[in-house]
């Protein structure tokens, strides 16, 4: 079993990136947010934009634009039991595929992929389809998320409230 987080210095590859992203997807479906938090670098951003074309996330309104501080607060919210929507969150199953290498340097790889997520809550299945972009840094401590951008194909339309992470 590959454990990407315990890798010694290894060159980035699409295969290792895909395995990391699959592992991340499973952590999110299992709502194992504490372990998910450990995948991130301190400078990493988790972004769910609204504008399908924007790349300047700081200058635009997003669904989520989380630095380390906001991510920690979001995880606290999802796990504390204080949020009625998180306590009763939908169950999710997601598949991630169609991996494509966007760019690669000595220690960073950027990978785009497709995510199909089905959420189930109170008799209703909801589909969330999105283009993902992961920027992964390969470090001696393992692979770290530098950036994850989730572009929902219906981001500019109205969504139902979410009690889980995409």
């Amino acid at each position: 079993m590959n454990k990407p987080n315990e890798l010694s210095v290894v060159s980035p590859s699409l295969q290792l990136a895909a395995e990391f992203i699959w592992r991340e997807a499973e952590l999110l479906d299992r709502k194992n947010y504490q372990q998910w938090a450990g995948l991130w670098s301190d400078t990493g951003h988790y972004v769910v934009p609204i504008d399908p074309d924007t790349t300047d996330f700081e200058a635009t309104l997003n669904y989520a634009y989380d630095d380390a501080r906001m991510r920690a607060m979001r995880i606290e919210r999802l796990t504390s039991g204080n949020s009625v929507s998180a306590v009763d969150a939908a169950r999710t199953v997601r598949t991630v595929s169609r991996f494509t290498e966007v760019s690669r340097s000595a220690d960073v790889i950027e990978v785009s992929s497709a995510q199909i997520l089905v959420a189930y809550k109170r008799e209703i299945h909801t589909l969330f389809a999105a283009d993902l972009t992961h920027r992964l840094r390969f470090t001696p401590e393992g692979i770290r998320l530098e950036q994850k951008v989730v572009r929902l194909i219906n981001s500019a339309d109205s969504l139902n409230a979410l009690g889980f992470l995409l």
Binding site: Y65, R77, S83
Partner: protein
């Protein structure tokens, strides 16, 4: 004190009940949340009768700028024409009924129907249609413009009505105008502009959302996770549960306002004693390099917006730092838009800080809205039970007082704002 209806005479109501029977001074019937017949009647008697908020002027700044939206379930285009006038046009070709525009916003020189290329000007006039020989002597282009609604605006808030005989907007807003003026002071000397929006849906009736805007009672409970995520100064600022100065005013015509931060009702009033929040230190520091301390204070104190939620019946609220717009989709589904606001021409660092504040609470991914939506959906689901059990809106009736200007005032955690909305609902729904 307000008069009470007798409490022991409550009768279970049915779909056959007249709308006015569904609302009493201190309670409403649960079927108001799910009766589809009532929903249709609301479309006719409320959404197609009164002033409905459609835009903020900053969304359509230049000639040709437009946005599409809905009033009730009818699609409309809000557009600034060549003369600079704002028009609201039915988004429906006069030929066979297709929408002439499906973009959410943009800039155009006119609107052309994709079906047979009938083309209309920004003022709605039918300019041209192809192969006109088939219409010779039977069609007068001047009689077939995109139909125009009544339009008026106050302080940049643009309203429209299908009812050509609707009362003047100024009369409709009445006492609420004073609060709209106060709300706009968060521009800190700059005009207000919109900065994007979160759209989300919940499976519930629109009035559940309408009630929520002046429901201070739910705040520390539903928003516990948000409260625990913000800094102490912000949570302290919104700890109004036992603050006697935190009040709700019922303003008449269904409008109401809930004051949560009494010291921020009029942002121009600043005695200089309130410390600027530590969380905004980076903004304060950056602004201090380019402007005098008074202006820095004005901008930073305004980052959370005005210290109140103003609920304008039936579809828009001006809530602290954003606009809340609701679109009823069906009796059991509602779309909500939370529009972020900023200073037009103001410092970028402050406008960005406002975006981050908005993202923190609002929208389907925020720390606040999803918990609201969960509570609202639970109201919708629960309201089907106990058909002889009313929805209570009586909190604070024991301490409601009438001010000299006619405002009914009670505590911010009371339900006076809901009672005001339901008085207006009853009045409009009872008109034949």
């Amino acid at each position: 004190m307000c008069s009470h209806d007798t409490h022991d005479s409550y009768q279970p109501l049915t779909f056959a009940a007249k709308p006015e029977q569904l609302v009493q001074a201190d309670r409403v019937d649960g079927s108001m949340y799910y009766d589809p017949g009532l929903f249709e009647l609301e479309q006719e008697r409320i959404f197609y009768k009164t002033w409905i908020w459609v835009a903020h002027e900053s969304e359509i700044h230049n000639p040709g700028d437009f946005k599409t939206t809905r009033i009730g379930r009818q699609p409309v285009i809000v557009v600034r024409d060549k003369t600079g006038a704002i028009r609201v046009l039915e988004n429906r070709c006069r030929h066979r009924g297709a929408t002439v525009c499906e973009k959410s916003k943009g800039n155009a020189t006119g609107f052309t129907c994709p079906y047979h290329s009938w083309s209309y000007g920004l003022d709605g006039k039918l300019r041209a249609l192809p192969y006109p020989d088939g219409y010779e002597d039977i069609l007068d282009k001047t009689e077939l413009p995109l139909r125009s609604l009544r339009v008026d605006s106050y302080a940049g808030m643009v309203f429209a009505s299908f009812n050509q005989d609707v009362e003047p907007l100024s009369d409709f807003l009445g006492e609420a105008k004073r609060w709209i003026d106060l709300f706009m002071k968060q521009g800190a000397g700059y005009p207000i502009k919109t900065q994007g929006e979160h759209k989300f849906r919940f499976r519930g009736n629109w009035k559940i959302q309408l009630e929520n805007t002046t429901d201070g009672y739910h705040f520390p409970i539903v928003h516990k996770s948000w409260m625990s995520s913000v800094d102490e100064e912000t949570s302290e600022m919104l700890s109004f549960m036992t603050d006697e100065k935190a009040v709700t005013h019922a303003l008449g015509n269904g409008h109401s306002v809930m004051v949560m931060v009494p010291g921020h009702v009029d942002l121009d009033q600043d005695d200089g004693t309130e410390p600027l929040q530590e969380r905004f230190a980076h903004v304060t520091e950056a602004l201090s390099k380019e402007m005098p301390p008074e202006q820095v204070r004005r901008i930073v104190r305004s980052l959370h917006g005005a210290g109140f939620n103003l609920n304008l019946f039936p579809n828009v609220a001006m809530s602290m730092a954003f606009f809340r717009v609701l679109h009823p989709v069906s009796a059991t589904e509602t779309e909500i838009r939370h529009i972020a606001l900023g200073m037009d021409g103001g410092p970028e660092i402050a406008n960005r800080e406002r975006l981050r504040i908005h993202e923190h609470f609002q929208g389907p991914f925020g720390f606040g809205s999803p918990d609201d939506a969960e509570a609202w959906e639970r109201v919708q689901r629960g309201s089907y039970a106990g058909k002889d059990v009313p929805i209570l809106v009586n909190r604070g009736l024991n301490r409601e007082v009438v001010a000299d200007n006619g405002d009914k005032i009670s505590h911010a955690t009371d339900e006076g704002g809901m009672r005001e909305a339901y008085r207006m609902w009853k009045r409009m729904m009872s008109d034949e």
